[in-house]
């Protein structure tokens, strides 16, 4: 279903009808020439893939953005406080708001990093909150908080840059908020937590799916793009090696590696892309890592359930943004509900990411359903279930020039520096298949730009 009564979208379409859509070709050529792509491995072969995009943007009205901005700021603020707490005094557990067993049995909780203080008490520097707009009641619903290593910001950023060149009409006629200051905000946030030294973006390397983004952000934010091998811990500090043998002290690292790969001394000993002993320098407070180590506990699919409670607990405020109605198999009452309503629920394995481990109960055969029931009973902590949200479609324009609706979500990015900056743009992902609800790029979804409109003078 497409959201009706949207004057901004009507205005967009009015303009779209007057312009030559064949110019999309020009956009494609641009994208190709700029090598705006993502990498993937298929059948053991490395493939550079163009990120499939659609020129019709999601349009967000000024009042809607103001609401989302407030809601996201509140959410990020609470998640950050939760992480500070859960790796510190653990008040929220002692006060019984979240069952401590729930946190302690999670693989994402890293007790060996408890009591590590982080620069400026910020742990959630970069976040990507995934939302959908519910076609029932028109409300925005948060599906997932991504506060470990969220990616995707470069795609709408690059698409915007190109769309402005190819289709200036929209930017002339519609009051679209600019998005190009994202890298500058990132730079400011890095400077803010920097413990002395240069800023670095740490990439897993050329073969990572988001390597383009790493390069792009480094270039635009003035940070140095480095591989693990380029960094070294000397004494108790981190340095960037340079080709002529000199070393530059590093004060902040926007790392695009998972915790597991970050340090072979501390985590996975076989990681070749990490920096040995970087975690010790971090524990000693000699370098800021963005995001902090151990954030996984806060974007755990199970902890998600408790985010509204966190907001109330830490901030004494009502949550602005709603969660999808969620049931935790961990609680007996919820578990019974799940087991009795398998057909109407989406069941998620909390250990999986990227749209994997998501099962629609309605699509299971009887025996599959029974098998899943057994798994839930055996390991209740591992599963959550959510009611299926009928979220809005957005139109896509295909090569033949026809409009067709696709399910679409919205990832909104924010940067926590001196304050929490919610980027007035976003990555709108859509399902390639008209019947699908899964929009993840790793599962073949495409993306759109997100235009946030300004109040018109």
């Amino acid at each position: 279903m497409i959201e009706s009564n949207s004057p901004f979208y009507d205005a967009f379409k009015g303009i779209l009808n007057t312009i030559d859509k064949n110019r999309v070709q020009e956009l494609l050529t641009y994208m190709n020439t700029e090598a705006i792509n993502f990498n993937l491995f298929k059948n053991n072969a490395f493939i550079e893939r163009k990120f499939p995009f659609d020129i019709i943007p999601r349009i967000v009205s000024p009042s809607e953005f103001a609401y989302l901005e407030k809601g996201i700021q509140q959410r990020i603020y609470a998640l950050n406080l939760f992480l500070e707490d859960v790796y510190g005094a653990q008040k929220i557990l002692k006060d019984g708001i979240i069952p401590s067993e729930f946190v302690f049995s999670s693989k994402a909780y890293l007790p060996s990093f408890a009591n590590t203080s982080v620069a400026k008490n910020i742990r959630v520097h970069i976040s990507g909150i995934d939302l959908v707009k519910n076609s029932v009641g028109d409300g925005w619903v948060v599906l997932e908080d991504n506060i470990r290593v969220p990616s995707g910001v470069s795609y709408p950023l690059s698409l915007r840059m190109l769309t402005r060149k190819v289709f200036p009409e929209f930017f002339e006629k519609l009051p679209i908020q600019g998005v190009s200051d994202y890298p500058k905000k990132l730079e400011a946030a890095m400077d803010y937590v920097n413990t002395g030294g240069i800023n670095v973006i740490l990439t897993p390397g050329r073969y990572n799916s988001a390597f383009y983004e790493h390069s792009y952000l480094a270039k635009e934010s003035g940070a140095i793009l480095a591989n693990g091998e380029d960094l070294v811990v000397e004494k108790d500090k981190v340095y960037l090696k340079t080709y002529n043998g000199k070393k530059a002290r590093v004060g902040a690292i926007y790392r695009r590696l998972d915790d597991d790969a970050l340090d072979p001394v501390e985590f996975h000993p076989d990681s070749l892309i990490g920096v040995p002993n970087i975690t010790q320098a971090y524990r000693a407070g000699n370098v800021a890592l963005m995001n902090s180590i151990g954030n996984g506990i806060a974007d755990d699919k199970g902890i998600y359930y408790f985010v509204p409670a966190m907001i109330k607990y830490y901030m004494n405020e009502e949550p602005i943004l709603q969660n999808a109605p969620t049931f935790l198999a961990f609680f007996e009452k919820d578990r019974n509900h799940i087991l009795q309503n398998m057909r109407t629920l989406v069941i998620k394995d909390v250990a999986e990411a990227g749209g994997y481990g998501v099962v629609f109960g309605s699509q299971l055969t009887k025996s599959e359903r029974e098998k899943l029931k057994d798994a839930i009973i055996a390991e209740p902590r591992r599963f959550i279930a959510q009611e299926v949200i009928e979220f809005y479609d957005i139109e896509c324009l295909d090569e033949a020039g026809t409009f067709s609706p696709r399910k679409a979500d919205l990832r909104m990015f924010s940067i926590y520096g001196e304050d929490i900056f919610v980027w007035p743009g976003g990555l709108t992902r859509f399902a390639m298949d008209p019947t699908s609800y899964i929009v993840n790029s790793s599962q073949g979804g495409g993306f759109k730009d997100t235009w946030v409109l300004k109040e018109q003078r």
Binding site: L93, F104, L110, V265, P269, N277, A284
Partner: protein
């Protein structure tokens, strides 16, 4: 009781390695029953080291040895005040209830557990299990742990295996348990034991010797949910992986 201690750690490589970043847990823990009064650590060739603490409050010593070397040697000497092994600390005990990777509640542990007739109170259960491990399992000298499944099958393993099995059994009986790395006098390998939380206190259990530790001189270095969180040495280096770890702990009663 005041004791003097010394602890030698030697990691020997078959072939020289280089670019060795290391992180050692070898400075004794400080808590209510163990106060480190004085200590001095030296590494081979005067390699400098730096200190920090992990989330368990384990003392970490880290550094870098770049040039090719066949061994990493470290010696710590010092004086420590020990009290009877009953204490509590600020860590949440619930952290030590869920099963962990090296002390899992696998089918074999479940089955073993079902075959036992356990006494009623936590205290007696812990006592019973500690004794049982001592009587039914054999300690062997090998560099690597067997893992619980093999340990249960052949009924022999190293100190680590004893501790992990006891931890898994305690936890599955609702008793929080943590893994301890440390040393006792004259034992030339890492000694590990278990702390179990009962009646408001942590108590030491040594399943390899079958004892409830009371005022025996056990010096604790580090603890964690299992071995993976309190290894004596972790490192990354260029060279072949083969190495031997030798350890010698000495504890002497300080009569003054």
């Amino acid at each position: 009781m005041k004791v003097n201690f010394s602890y030698d750690f030697t990691l020997t490589f078959d072939e020289p390695v280089r670019n060795h970043h290391f992180c050692l847990r070898m400075v004794p823990y400080t808590n209510a029953i163990q106060t480190l009064l004085a200590w001095k650590l030296s590494l081979n060739d005067g390699v400098p080291y730096y200190e920090t603490r992990d989330g368990f409050e384990n003392h970490l010593v880290y550094g870098f040895l770049g040039k090719p070397h066949r061994a990493l040697k470290a010696t710590i000497e010092g004086e420590i005040e020990l009290s009877p092994y009953v204490y509590h600390d600020k860590e949440p005990v619930e952290l030590y209830l869920p099963h962990s990777t090296l002390a899992p509640l696998c089918e074999d542990v479940r089955e073993f557990s079902r075959s036992l007739k356990l006494p009623v109170t936590d205290f007696r259960k812990a006592h019973f299990l500690t004794q049982l491990l001592y009587e039914q399992f054999r300690a062997i000298e090998e560099p690597k742990a067997k893992g619980l499944e093999t340990f249960l099958l052949y009924k022999e393993g190293i100190s680590q295996d004893f501790s992990h099995l006891l931890i898994a059994l305690l936890r599955s009986n609702g008793i929080p348990a943590r893994f301890v790395n440390g040393f006792i006098d004259g034992v030339n390998k890492t000694h590990t034991w278990v702390e179990a939380f009962m009646d408001g206190d942590w108590r030491g259990l040594d399943p390899q010797s079958g004892i409830f530790i009371h005022d025996e001189p056990y010096i604790k270095i580090a603890h964690g949910r299992d071995f993976s969180e309190c290894q004596i040495h972790r490192g990354s280096y260029i060279g072949k992986r083969q190495h031997i770890l030798e350890i010698m702990g000495r504890i002497e009663r300080n009569e003054q």
